[in-house]
């Protein structure tokens, strides 16, 4: 399949785009990517490909758009079955989808509350966020990855979000490694994978973006 048939409307610091980049790399699939300016004027292609949300990532496969990162990752797994990202047994798939959904509901918005808050609210947001990570630690248990022995769907949904944790730590005055050591070990294990390292931005770069977002939100 030639590169031109897959186009990713992308954004370097977006953890949601990071998920798609990692999934495509895991499958060894080649693609073109177009960096979108998500804080400025959105391109015609983005607006016409994702009229409902007008957001990245959008994956265009033979011109047909796919939106919403978790759905795109599942599509990539359906369209290129090897190596599988979701488990094969229906019950294990359910567990993977459940924790994927939990991550969607809790992690990014929970972390955002930390840098969007002022005063006492920061402490409340921080406590909730740490509680979320502890719940994830609980489900990880002693496994290498959320998928078990193999890096999979839940790992892919979660690892890009961790590039934003440095910013949360700065504004919340805490360290994930101290509060959730098992979680930190999992992060380091994922970062040993070339596909992960190549796909994700440096946390310091994300921190600069969060500083900008704080000004835009009037938090500074």
């Amino acid at each position: 399949m030639s590169k031109q048939e897959l186009l990713l409307l992308d954004c370097g610091v977006s953890p949601f785009c990071g998920r798609v980049r990692i999934a495509l790399a895991e499958k060894g699939v080649e693609y073109e990517s177009k960096e979108e300016n998500v804080l400025g004027a959105k391109s015609e292609l983005l607006l016409s490909s994702n009229p409902v949300y007008k957001k990245v990532p959008v994956l265009l496969h033979n011109g047909k758009p796919l939106c919403e990162s978790s759905i795109i990752v599942q599509y990539i797994d359906d369209a290129w079955p090897s190596p599988p990202l979701l488990p094969t047994s229906p019950y294990e798939r359910v567990q993977a989808r459940f924790w994927g959904d939990f991550i969607e509901k809790k992690v990014f918005d929970g972390g955002s509350k930390i840098w969007k808050s002022k005063g006492e609210e920061i402490e409340v947001a921080k406590k909730e966020f740490i509680e979320t990570l502890k719940q994830l630690e609980g489900t990880l248990g002693d496994k290498d990855f959320f998928g078990g022995e193999n890096f999979g769907f839940v790992d892919i949904l979660l690892i890009p979000l961790t590039t934003w944790f440095y910013a949360y730590e700065k504004f919340g005055d805490f360290k994930v490694e101290e509060e959730c050591p098992k979680f930190s070990t999992w992060v380091k294990r994922c970062k040993q994978r070339e596909n992960v390292v190549k796909a994700l931005p440096e946390p310091e770069m994300v921190y600069e973006v969060v500083l900008m977002l704080r000004k835009m939100h009037g938090v500074e």
């Binding site: 759905i71 359910v94 459940f98």
Partner: protein
């Protein structure tokens, strides 16, 4: 081995109705257990410790939570009858997208109509109707969102139709006047026994919502 299926549910719940429809589409027998949401049972708390919510499907003792995930599970395990998700990966992704969009928006939009008044309610009604019109556009001239066959998106959406009478009554507006194609679709769905036997009667839903309005002090 006979499957043991238990559904922890609450009759007026839209999310519970989805599971009832999916189980009926697959012709599955199960034990229904009504839950008291204001006094949650130990079983519910044990089976869904993370969210503590219904519906929960318990299949041979193992719990599955979150309605959209439960429907996908039912579709995968009992895949030989009435497939709900399409086989083609792109169409599956589209079905997941629309079910996800419905999940993110529709429940809250509808709930806000029933819990607000005056100008705020007018705004909510407008947003709600815009949302339904977008869905009508997606339906187009197809009999179902799944195309010729009743499918995943239809299951996700149809339970909301049991609340339409309540929204119209408390919001003082007509959904059919603005979205006739969507109402035609709900009538088409109700011709299926899996749907008509699973959805709670709109009058009973209305009375439940009236009770919630009193509880929240809207009345």
């Amino acid at each position: 081995m006979a499957d043991e299926i238990i559904l922890l549910d609450f009759l007026p719940s839209i999310f519970g109705m989805r599971i009832r429809v999916a189980l009926a589409e697959k012709g599955l027998k199960y034990e229904y257990r009504e839950q008291d949401l204001w006094n949650k049972s130990p079983l519910l708390l044990e089976m869904n410790p993370v969210h503590k919510k219904i519906p929960v499907l318990i299949h041979n003792g193992k719990p599955i939570c979150e309605s959209t995930i439960i429907v996908q599970y039912i579709d995968e395990v009992w895949k030989d009858k009435s497939p709900l998700l399409p086989a083609d990966p792109y169409e599956r992704a589209q079905a997941r997208f629309w079910a996800d969009y419905i999940d993110k928006k529709l429940y809250d939009l509808g709930k806000k109509i029933t819990l607000t008044k005056g100008e705020e309610q007018d705004t909510r009604k407008r947003e709600f109707l815009e949302f339904l019109k977008l869905l009508e556009g997606e339906l187009g001239d197809k009999p179902f969102f799944g195309g010729e066959n009743f499918g995943f998106v239809d299951v996700s959406l149809v339970a909301f139709s049991s609340r339409f009478y309540a929204y119209e009554s408390f919001g003082n507006f007509s959904i059919e006047a603005e979205c006739p194609k969507l109402i035609a679709w709900t009538k088409r769905c109700m011709e299926r026994e899996s749907v008509s036997s699973s959805l709670l009667d709109p009058q009973k839903v209305h009375d439940f919502v009236a009770g919630m309005r009193r509880r929240y002090g809207v009345e």
